[in-house]
Structure formats: C-alpha cells, structure tokens
Symmetry: C2
Subunit: 144 residues, 2 copies
C-alpha cells in the first residue's frame, strides 16, 4: 500500500495566535472555527495546519526536542501565474510581518522567484516559471 | 494579493538518488523524467520535490547554513481511509527504509495515527480520524 498524496502540512509554531493571524492575512481565509489549540487552514489541494511546536514534537516522540536550530530543510511554495502576481504577494506578506529573505528576481533556471520567512522562520518560495502550467483545479503541472 | 494554495513542498536531501528511490517506493510513482538534479513527484493536490539540501539553502540565501540540527518543526501528513490502510502503509514504508518513530496507535483526539521518518529525518504522519472526510478529488475535508 503506497501513499497516494499529501493531505496536510503542519508547521510547529511558537505563538499559535500570532502565527494564525499571520496566515489569515496571507491566505485571506480563516482557519476552521471548530477546533481550539490548532489552526486548520483548509486550502485547496493540501491543508496547512498550525500547532504549537512543543506539542507537535511531543506528539511525534518524547525523545524529540522541540528545539529548532538552523535550517528546517523544507520549503513551501506557491507557483504564481505571473511576475506581477509575485510582486503583489511580496507586498502583502511584508505587510503581514514576513521577512523578505530573497527579493523576487530572475533565476538560473529561467524563472522568477523570491523567498520569504514566516514568523517562525519557515521558508516560502513564490515562483513563476515558463515550464509550469496549471490544471483546471489550480494544481501545478508541467506544460506539455 | 493573497496566496491561494500551496503548489509544491521541497525537501532538502543529503543523497538525491537514494531519497528519490525511497519516495518512488512509498509513492509508487516515478519523478518527472525531464529534469536532472531535482526530483519532482507530481502528486495530486501538491507536488513533493527533492533537491540537495546544500543547494536548497544556497538558493534561499548565501547566509543560510544547510546544517540541519534537531527537529525541522514541520510534519507532512497523509490522512487514510481506515486503520487497515495505515497498517499497510507502515509495512510498506518500513520495507522502503523508513524509521518507525511512533507505531500506529489510538490518539488522544479520537483518531489513529503513527509517525515515520524518511532517510533525511523528515517526519510523516499517517492518520485516520472520525472527523475527516474526503472531497471527490481526494483532498481532505471535515465531515459535515
């Protein structure tokens, strides 16, 4: 039995209320109101969930320290339709309190992309590339 | 302009060939064959991409060390249809070389879930819960 897809990405956060406000601003939606102590953002394709980082570590294993140092090793990305859309998103996330790590710029692979970090230091890429297209449901696909 | 969804999750990996073989086994699909040096697994909803962790850190910022210590702070999850599906998936990922961190078990929130770690130590949860349902496209939703 294989894993056919991802359903949820969970970010362990230091301040749940603050992180929830941040993602409310950048997604433009509120988390599901039926659950306390956890914020489920029901995005199309895959949910983004926020949960206190100490509780997340504890849920995985009592041996796991919630101490995060250095690079998470993971990036989350949104592929945009245009460079203009990327610039507009960077304005929005900056206003919401994100740190701009790499301002949007031309990339070595022929695209246009930038990175920001959320309040807990998780890295997001917002990118456009000539090889990318979108399925009718909005998910990513390669141009044929 | 807000971010309407996620399109890609990228994991920074130490050994791209080895990590690609691992995810080929647990997803049951091959990455897109048109790109070298990066593995795009075109899963429904959101892609999972593998890229060397040093190059990923460098792409974000020259100031970012690719050194990963402790907990990434992020979990990836697949919500299953049944406890049996979870048990079968855990057999499969164990065979593929995953470390079983928390064997599937009843949870405090009324569900059933376990965690495994991939070859680079990234944590995956495979979970079933009575409050979860699936949209026709296979993405997660709450029961009404």
């Amino acid at each position: 039995m294989t894993i056919p897809r991802l359903t949820v990405i969970t970010l362990g956060v230091k301040d749940l209320a603050q992180a929830t406000r941040f993602y409310q601003a950048i997604f433009g939606i509120s988390p599901n109101s039926g659950y306390e102590g956890v914020s489920f953002f029901e995005l199309p394709g895959v949910w983004l969930t926020l949960y206190p980082v100490d509780k997340l570590a504890e849920d995985i294993s009592p041996q796991l320290s919630p101490d995060r140092r250095g690079f998470s090793g993971i990036t989350l990305a949104y592929n945009a339709r245009s460079k203009d859309e990327i610039m507009a998103i960077f304005e929005e996330v900056k206003t919401a309190g994100a740190s701009i790590i790499k301002p949007p710029q031309e990339t070595f692979w022929g695209g246009f992309s930038g990175y920001f970090a959320d309040l807990d230091g998780y890295h997001w890429e917002v990118a456009w590339g000539p090889m990318f297209d979108f399925a009718p449901d909005g998910s990513l696909r390669f141009k044929e």
